[in-house]
Symmetry: C2
C-alpha cells in the first residue's frame, strides 16, 4: 500500500488534545473532569453576537469576499482606532480562526525550508502550521525563573541564519501569561530591522492585560510598519472559539496581496458569523472588556492563592491572557497528567491539565511543567485546584 506523506507521519499530535481519550474514559467511569487543559473560555458569548447573526440570516447562504465582509473589517478598524491605532480596512484580511492567520503569516513570509525564530514554551499549534508550511521553528528558550521574559538580544540574534525570515511572538502569551514590555518589543524591533526580518505577532489576548497594565501592540512600533504582521482572533476576546473567525493585519501591501491570493484559494471565511462579529466589535463598550479582564485577573489571583504555598510548585504571576505555566515537583508532567485521568479521583472528580513539554521545540525541556488555563468559574477553579493539589501529593507519595 502506498504510504502517507512523511510530513504528516512525522507531525506531532496535539499535546493539548491527546489526553482527551483518557478524559473521556474517566467520564465513562463516572468521574467528573475539570478542564484546566484547554483555552476554552466559559464566559458567555455576548448576546448581541447571536442577535446580529440571527438578523443577518440570508435566503441563500452565499460565499462572501475572500478578504472578509467589509462590515467586519470596518468594525475591526474602528476597534483599533479606539486604541489609538490607525488600521485601514485594506490592511485587514478576515481569516478562518486565528489559526489561519498564523498559517497565512508563515506562508506569505517563508518558503519551504525557511526558519522562524520563536520563544519556547510557545502555543503548540504553531508546530502544526510550521509543518504545513514546510518551515522550521527555531526555538529560543525562556525560563520560569524570570516569568518567561525574553533572554538577551545577543542570545536571540545568535539563532539568526541565512534562512531566518521572521521572529514570532505571542503577547500576552499562551502558554505563560507573559506580557512583553515596551523595552523587549524595542529590542525585537532593532533585531528585525538590523537583520531584515518580519515580526509576526500573535495578539489574540491583547485585551487581557492585568494589574492596570496596557497592551503595546507591534502595530504601534515605529520604523517597522512594513515588517509587522499581527494575528488576531475573536475566539478568546468574545468567547466565540467555535465561530472560527480571526484576522491578519499588516501595513505591508505586498504581504496583504499575497494573503489575499491564499484567501481566494479557500474562497472565504464563514459568512454569517461575520455579521455577529461585526456587531460585537462595534457595540461592546469598555465595560465589557473591563469585566472580562477583571474576571480573568481575579481567577489568576485565586490561582496564586491556591497554589503558591504548595511545596515544590513554582511560577511567577501571569501578567495577562488566561494561562499559567507552572513547575511541578514531578519528573514527568505528561505521566502525571495522564495519571490524574486514569488513576486519581477525589470524591468522584479529577482535574485535567496540559503537560507543557508539548509547548517546547527542544526535546527534554518542560518535562516538569504544566499549563493551566483559568477558564472556569471561581468555585470550579477552587475545586479543580484542590483536586490538583491532592493529586500531586498522592502522586509523590505513591507513584514517583
Amino acid at each position: 500500500m502506498t504510504a502517507i506523506s512523511e510530513r504528516c507521519a512525522d507531525m506531532q499530535a496535539s499535546p493539548i488534545r491527546k489526553l482527551v481519550p483518557l478524559a473521556n474514559a474517566a467520564k465513562t467511569r463516572g468521574t467528573s473532569v475539570y478542564h484546566l487543559n484547554i483555552g476554552q473560555p466559559d464566559i458567555p458569548t455576548p448576546e448581541g453576537y447571536w442577535k446580529a447573526l440571527k438578523e443577518s440570516l440570508p435566503e441563500v447562504l452565499a460565499y462572501g469576499p475572500s478578504q472578509g465582509l467589509l462590515v467586519l473589517r470596518e468594525a475591526i478598524s474602528t476597534y483599533y482606532s479606539r486604541a489609538g491605532i490607525d488600521i485601514d480596512t485594506d490592511e485587514i484580511i478576515i481569516t478562518t480562526g486565528g489559526s489561519e492567520a498564523v498559517y497565512f503569516a508563515f506562508m506569505t513570509t517563508c518558503d519551504v525550508g525557511d526558519e522562524v525564530i520563536c520563544f519556547e514554551p510557545f502555543y503548540t499549534n504553531y508546530n502544526g502550521f510550521a509543518t504545513m508550511a514546510g518551515i522550521n521553528l527555531v526555538p529560543v528558550t525562556t525560563v520560569a525563573e524570570n516569568g518567561f521574559h525574553l533572554p538577551s538580544k545577543s542570545e536571540i540574534e545568535s539563532k539568526i541564519t541565512e534562512k531566518t525570515k521572521a521572529i514570532l511572538i505571542c503577547t500576552p502569551n499562551n502558554p505563560t501569561g507573559t506580557v512583553l514590555s515596551p523595552e523587549e518589543l524595542s529590542t525585537l524591533s532593532d533585531i528585525v530591522q538590523k537583520n531584515d526580518l518580519f515580526l509576526l505577532s500573535d495578539e489574540v489576548y491583547r485585551d487581557f492585560v492585568f494589574d492596570g497594565g496596557s497592551h503595546l501592540s507591534t502595530l504601534e512600533l515605529p520604523d517597522i510598519e512594513d515588517r509587522v504582521i499581527v494575528m488576531d482572533s475573536i475566539s478568546k476576546r468574545f468567547s466565540s472559539c467555535g465561530a472560527r473567525l480571526g484576522n491578519m493585519i499588516s501595513r505591508n501591501k505586498t504581504i496583504m496581496e499575497a494573503a489575499l491570493k491564499l484567501g481566494q484559494a479557500r474562497l472565504c471565511p464563514p459568512t454569517v458569523a461575520q455579521y455577529g462579529a461585526a456587531w460585537i466589535y462595534h457595540h461592546l463598550s469598555e465595560d465589557y472588556y473591563e469585566n472580562i479582564r477583571t474576571t480573568y485577573q481575579n481567577r489568576r489571583d485565586l490561582l496564586i492563592n491556591e497554589l503558591s504555598d504548595v511545596e515544590g510548585i513554582f511560577f511567577l504571576k501571569p501578567e495577562g491572557a488566561f494561562y499559567a505555566t507552572i513547575k511541578l515537583p514531578v519528573k514527568d508532567a505528561d505521566a502525571f497528567a495522564s495519571w490524574m485521568l486514569t488513576d486519581f479521583q477525589l470524591n468522584g472528580e479529577t482535574t485535567m491539565v496540559a503537560p507543557a513539554a508539548g509547548f517546547y521545540a527542544t526535546p527534554g525541556l518542560g518535562l516538569d511543567l504544566i499549563r493551566i488555563a483559568f477558564v472556569l468559574s471561581d468555585d470550579k477553579m477552587r475545586k479543580a485546584l484542590n483536586i490538583l493539589k491532592n493529586g500531586i501529593k498522592t502522586y509523590l507519595e505513591t507513584v514517583q
Copy 2:
C-alpha cells in the same frame, strides 16, 4: 525590505475572481451584471438549516471536536447509506469547506515536490492548494470534442513518474459538467492499483447527474478502498457556500489519522453551522434532491437551446454539475470576458463569464474557452445568454 515568499509571489490569482474589479466598475457606472462566472447557487438554502442552526445556539460558542461534531458525521454516514454506500463516522472528517478537504488530501498523500496527476481543465483552486502543499499538478488534457472525457489509459500512465502519489478527479466535473463513466473509473482503478497511487475524488456535485443517470462514487469501486479519498462539501448540494463546511472521507485509517492531526492544528470547523448541516443531511427527502437536479437540468437545456445555434460556438451537453465549458469564436476569451465588463452593455446590462484558460495548467490551452455556471433563474439565464450572444457578435465585428 525583506521579500515575501517566492511561493506566494508566484501564486496565481484566482482567475474566477480576478475580473471582479471590472465587474464592480461596471456596476458603479450603472450597468447591471449577470453573474455566470461563479458557482454560487441562487437556490435558497433549505429553511431547516436555519431552523436547526437557531435552535442550536449555545450560551458559549465553544470549540467543537477537530474531526467535526458526531451528529454531523452520523448524518453524513446516513446520507451515504441511503445511496447504498457504507461509511463509518470514523471514516469522515468535517472540514472547513470542501477547500480544506482538498488541502488535507494533498497534505496527507504528498510531500513537497511530489506530483498529482489531474485532468485539465480543472477546478482552478486546486492550483492554490497545490502551491500551499508544495506539490506539482501534472495535467492530462481533455478536449471539448469528446465532452472532456478521459483520454486513453496509456496517455494517463505516460504522465506517471517516481514522484507521482495520486490521481485527482472531479465527477461530476467543475468546470465541464462531465460525469465519468463506470468504465472510466474502472480504468483509473486499474492505474492506481498498478502504480501504487491514491485516487483523490472531488464529488461535491454527486447529486447533480442529469438525464436519469446515477452517480458512481469512487467509494463504490472494489479493490481500492484503501486508496480512495473523497472530498465533499455542503456548499452546492444545500446552497450553503458561506457555511464553509465540507468533509473528507477515506477508509484508509492511516490517512484519517494524518488528517486528524492536520485538523487538530486548526482546532475545529465552524461549530453551529454543523448543527444546521446535520439537520438537512438527516431530513431532506429525495424530493429535495430531485427538485434541484431538475432545476439545474432545465437550465442546462435552456443553455443548449440558447447557444447551440450560435455560429462558432461549440460544446457537448453537460452531464452533471452546473457548469459548461464552451468554445467561443474568439482568440482570447480572457480579453473578451474583460471587454464584456468594460466596453459592452445591452440596455444597461452585461454578462460576466469565467475565461477558461485559468482552468488549464498547460500554457496556451483553453484560450478560446469560457466557463458558464448556470446558477441563475430561467428568466435571468435567458437575458444573460442573450447579452452574451450579442456581445460575441459585436466583439467579432468591432474588436477581433
